[in-house]
Symmetry: C3
């Protein structure tokens, strides 16, 4: 059984485990994606908890199964809540995911993302442009355009493995970098699939960051969690596309499909070496 | 006509009155449930107003028909807005509902809920675990697990009648405690129904708190309002389940059904003594 | 070709241009409508960015194609972000839209709207009651009821042309006031259409303000942008109504229809002199 067959088998097992364990996933995410993120977690079988305030986010993180931090609509109050939550998670050994939405767009975001990057996320998820800009953040610190394909960001993602155990570049082909076991070199899993409607519905990408967190709670490695989360989302997106008539009905059908996903069928012919 | 026949007749009349009067319901609720809550109120015939800031929440509450306070994503700024709104409501004789989401989870929430509990809500709505923890809040002040059935919380709900005129334990069977008239002992109405999809869609429970507030604006007693709100939600959920294929399509169908609900049909065979 | 034929031709051309250029629309909007607003912009072909914090809203606004300010759930922190964003937009020549939701309801809102009104929005969008109250804001400064028809607000809208180049009164018949070219007198375009479900779904009006901003980025005049936005929304609403069974399925079908709208068909028989 090769590397990718192994990851495939893991995704199927992780999906079963997620449904059984219903991990509690704390999310500090943007206002736009909050409802979708909670519904995606519920549909996949996890238990969402949106707990953001500095007054309680650290205490709660220590009790959570995993933590997802998304900086889509940041502000100083929310950044304080993120820092407190991450400290609580790290103190309790709870893994956390960083989704650095549009982190290169403003000076404020560039400062915030540099700070969060230093706090050892288990996994980082972004689109190709975000991953490329993040690898350059220390050196250049400015925005890049958003039309890159995931393979353009492979070198950048490799560099970012200095900051996180797993790097997910979401796109038409997802590229997922990390180690299969702690004593081997990093590998890249490429996962083609999903639907062109996904980027036309707000929050589908942000929910994926939270879904990685949910799978982190039941996986042995961040790589396994990222593969399972992207496979689950992409398989459901393909199912949803069959009945969708536009972005509105796609979003509805995607939530339905996340619940009743045929993940085994999807996995059987999609995973291939990156 | 027995007690429960009377409540039944009231629910049908209240539903008609809600559609005619379109009460203005001020909601200070969590970020996740805000959109669903507004849509549920609009679908049922009420007029939602999300007004949360301390700068205006008290002035507005005095003009509202009812106020709904949900502490799902609390923070100090929002808590200040809640206090101001409740003071405005109380000063003007406007009834308010407390939905103490996950109030036992952190020290911050435990402090906040103790404070709000002392401000005389007309009704309190929660799941069994929340109601049980709330009754114990003064004495023990910590979390309990969330897998209780509503009947496990009946004793706790009875104790909470010292703090509010009506207590709603939402669940597979809803248990609604309060007085039919001011000079009688409290009774419990049990209402079986609804759909297993409800807890799989975020905000369906939180919207129920706001729906109680809407019915408070047109009801004689909190008990009547709680029965009507739960019956309306459950009847619509059963209608929605017939066409739903998962949590996404259930949410859509539920909003449709809240608008075109066959409440009379639902009520005719469901209300029974608790 | 008369005035209205000219506006009609412009709307069709603007729709094509919007799809090609995918303008970046910064939105500072209320919590309730944020998700719907982002999805409406994505469905119509624009690119939404919810960037609200004072820490970055001004820097971002200078990079945006247009800015939409909606005061549905205002607070001092968000008002600070609005001011900063508007200053950034004005400094960079980026047009902005004001949607003064319920601005007459409280003293806090009345103060805020007076301040924003002085900052030269390109367009103002509201329902008839909001537009009427806004014209009177300097003199009387209190609320009015919300049951006016758009034609009741024509005189008020005309007065408001002292503050903005375009005034949109959304309603069963939309009334859109502004200049076809800079050296002509203001005209009023009346646009009948849409669906009675629109006011039954939260955020449909607020999203219209953001859609005007998207069209401002590709239009020659605010009048053209307002006509195109209202025509696009109304055409999609009529398509959606054909398959909707209630407010939930209407919202889904509306998003689908915004993407695949038959705008040419709608325009061919609807525009008429106001």
């Amino acid at each position: 059984m090769g590397v990718c067959d192994s990851e495939l088998a893991d995704s199927w097992a992780l999906y079963q485990r997620l449904r059984e364990q219903t991990p509690l996933v704390q999310c500090i995410t943007n206002y736009v994606a909050m409802n979708m993120t909670a519904n995606v977690l519920l549909a996949t079988g996890a238990s969402p908890a949106m707990v953001h305030s500095e007054a309680e986010s650290g205490e709660f993180a220590a009790l959570a199964s995993a933590l997802s931090i998304n900086m889509g609509t940041p502000s100083p109050h929310w950044a304080a809540g993120m820092r407190t939550a991450i400290a609580g998670a790290r103190g309790a050994g709870v893994p956390w995911v960083l989704d650095p939405v549009a982190h290169a767009a403003t000076a404020y975001r560039r400062g915030l993302v540099a700070e969060l990057l230093a706090l050892q996320p288990a996994a980082i998820r972004g689109n190709a442009s975000e991953i490329m800009a993040l690898a350059e953040a220390g050196a250049r610190g400015h925005g890049v355009d958003t039309r890159h394909e995931s393979q353009d960001a492979l070198a950048a993602a490799n560099d970012l493995l200095a900051h996180a155990e797993g790097i997910a570049i979401s796109g038409r082909v997802d590229r997922l970098l990390g180690r299969s076991t702690t004593d081997t070199d990093p590998i890249t899993i490429s996962l083609a699939g999903g639907s062109a409607w996904q980027p036309r519905v707000t929050g589908t990408g942000c929910a994926l960051g939270a879904l990685i967190a949910a799978y982190l709670a039941v996986a042995d490695t961040p790589l396994d969690a990222m593969v399972a989360a992207h496979a689950h989302a992409a398989a459901a997106a393909e199912q949803a596309e069959r009945t969708a008539h536009g972005p509105g009905s796609f979003a509805v059908a995607w939530l339905d499909a996340l619940d009743s996903v045929d993940l085994a069928g999807f996995l059987s012919d999609r995973l291939a070496p990156g």
